[in-house]
Symmetry: C2
Subunit: 218 residues, 2 copies
DNA sequence: AGCTGTGAAACATTTCACAGCT
DNA sequence: AGCTGTGAAATGTTTCACAGCT
C-alpha cells in the first residue's frame, strides 16, 4: 500500500494475465488507446472486478473515471509476468511433437528463444529443424554450461520422461514444460507444468457423457 | 445418499480423476491388486482426503479398513469419466502440429478414435497421415452427416480459429480442443478447452522471474 | 457521470478430524 | 488397528458494492 511491498498473487491470477496481455496486444494492433475493465471483461468473458483485482496485485495501473491506457497496461503486465527479457528454451525429444514445436515460429514473438533441440536417438541426431540441428542428449550438460537454458520443453516418450527431467534438473534448468503423459517429480526449486493431451480428451469426454451440454470443467 | 442421485461434481475433481486413472492403470499393469487413498496420495503428491472425497462424488468404491480394489476402481473411474465407450475425433488443420497429433498413436489406447483429418489448403489435401488421407474442409459437413464426430481438435492458425470453430459447431460437434492461441467463443451446448503453449511458457517465465524458486502456479 | 481500487460477502475447494465399518 | 466416507473447519477465489478520484 505504501511502496513496493510484495503482495501475494493468487495462483489463478497468472494464467489470466496471459489472456489479458494477448487481448491488449490485439487492441493495440488495432489502434485502441484506452480500455476499461468493463470492456476488456466483455471481450474475454469475465467479471470486470476480477480484472481490476488481478491488476491490483501488481500496482495501480488505471485512472479512475477513465480506464487503462493500453500501452501502459501492456508494459506493466509484460513486466509483471517477467517477459521484459528473453528466456532461452530447449526442446528435449525430437520426435513428431518435438520437431513440430521446434519449427513453430511464434516462440520468438513472445520473448522466448529456442537455443537447442536434443535427442538420444542416433537416427535423429544431426537432423535439421529450420534454424539448427538436433544435438545428442549427451552434449546437454556441456551445452548448459556454455549457454544459459531457462526452460526445457520435454517431448520424449512417457517411459523416458522421469530420467530426462532428472537430467535436465541436474544440469541446472529450473523450469520444465512436460508434454509426456506422466507426472514427473523434481527437486525443490524446479517448476514443472504439464501439457497433457489425453487428460484433456478425457475431460471433454466427461463433459459430453455427463449431460447434454454445459457441463463446463474449465 | 440413498440411490443414484446425481451429486454436484466440482470442476476441479475431473482433471484429477484422469490422474488417478493413469496411476491406477500403471499399478494394475504392475500386478497391484489393492491400494489405499494414503498410498495413492503419496504417489500423486496429494492429500488422501482429497482422493476419497473425489471418489465420493461418484459412489462408494472402497472397503473400510482395507482400501480400494484396483480393477474395480479403474472400472468405476472409467465409467464416471465416460470412457466406457469409444469417442470419435477429428483433427482440423493439417499443419505441423496437426500432423504430429494425427500420427500420435496412444489416442486409441484411451478409447479415442481418429476418424478424419481436414485442411483447407490444396497443397495438403490428399496427403497421407498414417492410416488415412487429409480431406478437404469443404467435405466436413457431409462427413459429419455420415459419421458421428464427438470431438474436434483444432490446429489451424490463430487467424482461422474462430471461423473454423464456428463451422465445427454448426456441423453439430459438441466438444472442441483448441490449440490455437486465441480464445474462441461457441454457442451454448458446445464445450471448448484450450491448450495454449505460449500461455504455459509465460506462466513458467513468471515463476522464474518472480523468485528463486517454488513460485508454484499449477 | 464514470471508472478504478479494494474491503467485505459469497462461493468454491481443500484439509481436518472422526464416526463407522471390516 | 486400519482405512473409508463425510460433515465441519480452514483456506482460496470470485463477485459485490461502494468510497474515492478524474
Amino acid at each position: 500500500m505504501h511502496g513496493d511491498e510484495k503482495r501475494h498473487v493468487p495462483a489463478a491470477t497468472v494464467p489470466r494475465l496471459t489472456l489479458y496481455l494477448r487481448k491488449l496486444r490485439e487492441l493495440h494492433a488495432h489502434g485502441v488507446a484506452r480500455v476499461s475493465s468493463k470492456d476488456l471483461a466483455a471481450m474475454i468473458d469475465l467479471n470486470p472486478a476480477q480484472i481490476r483485482k488481478d491488476f491490483s496485485y501488481f500496482g495501480e495501473f488505471g485512472t479512475r473515471g477513465v480506464g487503462y491506457e493500453v500501452p501502459r497496461l501492456i508494459a506493466e503486465i509484460t513486466r509483471s509476468l517477467g517477459l521484459d527479457r528473453t528466456w532461452n528454451a530447449v526442446i528435449v525429444g525430437a520426435g513428431l511433437l518435438g520437431t513440430a514445436l521446434a519449427r513453430y515460429r511464434g516462440f520468438a514473438d513472445q520473448g522466448f528463444r529456442l537455443v537447442g533441440v536434443f535427442d538420444s536417438s542416433p537416427g535423429v541426431i544431426g537432423a535439421s529443424y529450420g534454424s539448427g540441428r538436433v544435438r545428442a542428449i549427451d552434449e546437454f550438460e556441456a551445452f548448459c554450461a556454455q549457454e544459459r537454458v531457462d526452460i526445457a520443453l520435454v517431448t520424449v516418450p512417457a517411459a523416458e520422461a522421469q530420467t530426462t527431467v532428472d537430467r535436465i534438473a541436474a544440469a541446472g534448468v529450473r523450469a520444465v514444460l512436460d508434454f509426456a503423459p506422466v507426472r514427473v517429480s523434481v527437486p525443490a526449486g524446479v517448476i514443472v507444468r504439464q501439457v497433457d493431451l489425453s487428460s484433456e480428451l478425457m475431460i471433454l469426454a466427461y463433459s459430453l457423457a455427463d449431460d447434454g451440454a454445459g457441463g463446463d470443467v474449465s
